[in-house]
């Protein structure tokens, strides 16, 4: 049974079909939520909220082929909603330990991962969501805008600011790794 058929069945109330669909996407959406929220428990809340909304609203989805993006959008917006409900208080890093780098030099990969961890921690949640959608889901700016339901210009500027801050943070954390060209924010 292909994904489209699962979606159509789920739209008609077939919960098993929905469970199958959920199984396909929950792992990456949970990981993305952890990256955005930097908190395991909040990520669980966001993913559960997103999936419950998806199940309830599934009959409204007119194009079954858009299910993945639609679900991703629901979960991403649940993340944002949770942040808003929390008043955007800083969230401590609480990511699960990794299984270790899969490729390349172990120490270099670990250092880069810790670097990214620190850089993400420094980004505001709104920008972190944009970065996760851009790099984790490989979405283009218009897709990011549609996912977060923000104007394309806003998505573009958030991504631009994120990149600038990442560059600064990278130079700050590891000055030799990313010298800041003249004229850029420091």
């Amino acid at each position: 049974m292909d994904q489209r058929e699962l979606v159509e069945r789920a739209q008609r109330g077939d919960h098993d079909a929905f469970a199958a669909l959920a199984g396909l996407f929950v792992a990456r959406l949970d990981a993305a939520a952890r990256l955005i929220l930097r908190d395991q428990d909040l990520a669980r809340d966001a993913v559960q909220d997103g999936f419950i909304r998806a199940w309830r609203s599934l009959p409204s989805l007119r194009d079954p082929d858009r299910f993945e993006g639609w679900l991703r959008s629901l979960v991403a917006r649940s993340c944002i909603d949770i942040l808003r409900r929390r008043g955007r208080r800083p969230i401590e890093v609480e990511l699960s330990p990794t299984d270790g780098p899969s490729v390349g030099d172990v120490s270099a990969a670990t250092a880069d991962r810790e670097l990214l961890d620190e850089i993400l921690r420094r980004l505001p949640p709104d920008q972190r969501a944009v970065v996760v959608l851009r790099y984790y889901f490989d979405l283009e700016v218009p897709e990011i805008a549609a996912t977060l339901r923000i104007p394309v210009g806003t998505a573009k500027s958030r991504l631009h600011r994120s990149m600038s801050q990442m560059r600064v943070a990278l130079a700050d954390i590891d000055p030799e790794a990313a010298p800041i060209p003249k004229g850029q924010l420091a």
Binding site: H15, D30, I52, V103, L120, V131, P151, A178
Partner: protein, 435 residues
């Protein structure tokens, strides 16, 4: 490839390592929740009926409209500021000393009513109808109230305070007769009154709201008072306890110049009687640093006698030093009785008695030749005062025992003088208003 570009390329992989994707342990619980949750029917969604372009469009309009809100907030701030300025302008009051705006003149009309006269257009308005007791108006420093004072009354009479429109009468505490002088305190909360208290001309400080009054126990006769900007009173009084001022003996005037706290404490003699001889006017400078007084040798017995050595003196209240104003450029002989600082404190208005017709005159505080202003007058009995804004001098010239002319004089002596309508028995006080 820069280091950052290399790093950027590795972000997806690093994210995967940072947050490994695995089916979370809450997955089954989540499905149990969804299984017990009912779906909304498809027909209840607008997306079912509206074009997808509308429902799937990124909601640009849902972004929070910061820009218009900021603009509206700025507009609201401007409106609020404008309102604040407007309201502030409605409540503005002039400073208690120094230059202020020119309000109206208050005077007692021949029928005893209190009238205001607009010196600009000559219009008059009755503030209060005639009362049984003759009272003269004295506007407060902020120009909002008038004290109604029964000057000179030999029988006890109340002093009342009203709004300049005649409203809200307050009767001051205390009993007053033979009132010689009244002055409003800098903040208009009190009035200092020189009146007969137990047979001795004394200073009483009465709250302008009528709640209290106390007489300063100075134990000597008081002649003149004037509030200083710091709230103290400058006064001319008998030098020693029991001294009269001026004395019954015209050849001896044991009056000295003092400052005293309004509570009656801290009596400080600035100039002893032997050096003073000043009984007509004392006037503080607007900044409160100087006190202007006129030395007058009462021994001549004639205030208008040009041979009488009336001289201008300025006492420096900070340094405690008195100096006589240089008169090298004054006519010889000359005599002066009364003098007042201009509202800006830079010059002095005084009556100049000389062999030729007398004049009101202005001289710089720094000295120099006096500038005679207005018409000459042969006889005594004129009065003058600075306009609150200092741009003119209000002068009254008696034309007979019962008639007089009111003039606004150009203090520069340029001759731009203007006669006002009115026939008043005395010089009306001028209301100070905010500029």
């Amino acid at each position: 490839m820069t280091t950052f570009e290399r790093f950027e390329r590795s972000i997806p992989e690093l994210m995967t390592e940072l947050a490994p994707a695995h089916v979370p342990d809450y997955f089954d619980d989540m499905l149990r929740t969804t299984a017990t949750t009912s779906q909304r029917p498809s027909w209840s969604y607008p997306e079912r009926w509206l074009p997808v372009e509308i429902t799937a469009r990124p909601l640009t309009s849902r972004s929070f409209p910061w820009r218009p809100i900021v603009v509206l907030a700025l507009i609201a701030l401007l409106v609020a500021a404008g309102l604040a300025v407007y309201v502030g302008s409605q409540n503005r009051v002039p400073p208690p000393f120094g230059a202020a705006g020119n309000g109206v003149l208050f005077y007692r009309a021949s029928d005893g009513s209190i009238v205001s006269l607009d010196p600009v257009d000559g219009s008059t308005a009755t503030v209060l109808p005639a009362s049984e007791k003759e009272v003269d108006p004295l506007p407060s420093r902020d120009g909002r109230r008038i004290a109604l004072v029964p000057y000179g009354s030999s029988t006890s009479a109340p002093i009342t305070v009203r709004g300049v429109d005649g409203s809200d009468q307050v009767t001051l505490a205390g009993v007053y007769r033979e009132i010689d002088a009244v002055d409003w305190s800098p903040d208009d909360s009190d009035l200092a009154i020189v009146s007969n208290q137990g047979g001795l001309q004394s200073i009483t400080v009465a709250a302008s709201d009528g709640t209290a009054a106390h007489t300063l126990a100075l134990g000597r006769q008081v002649s003149l008072i004037s509030y200083l900007p710091d709230g103290r009173l400058a006064t001319v009084a008998g030098e020693r306890p029991g001294d009269a001022c001026p004395g019954d003996d015209a050849t001896r005037a044991p009056c000295a110049l003092f400052v005293v706290n309004s509570a009656g404490t801290g009596l400080d003699m600035l100039i002893p009687a032997a050096d003073f001889h000043g009984i007509n006017t004392i006037a503080p400078s607007p900044d409160g640093t100087k006190l202007l007084w006129v030395e007058w040798n009462i021994g001549t017995g004639n205030v208008a006698d040009p041979e009488a050595p009336g001289r201008l003196h300025v006492y420096d209240l900070r340094a405690g030093v008195d100096r006589r104003l240089a008169d090298d450029d004054f006519p010889v002989p000359y005599n002066i009785n009364r003098a007042w600082f201009s509202p800006d404190g830079s010059s002095i208005l005084f009556d100049l008695f000389e062999a030729t017709p007398n004049h009101w005159a202005v001289v710089s505080l720094a000295g120099g030749a006096p500038i005679r202003i207005g018409q000459g007058w042969p006889q005594n009995g004129t009065d003058a005062s600075w306009a609150p804004d200092g741009r003119s001098v209000l002068a009254r010239y008696p034309t007979s025992d019962t008639t007089s002319e009111l003039w606004l004089l150009d203090p520069s002596g340029g001759g731009a003088d203007r006669r006002l309508d009115g026939n008043l028995p005395y010089l009306p006080p001028w209301q100070r208003v905010a500029r």
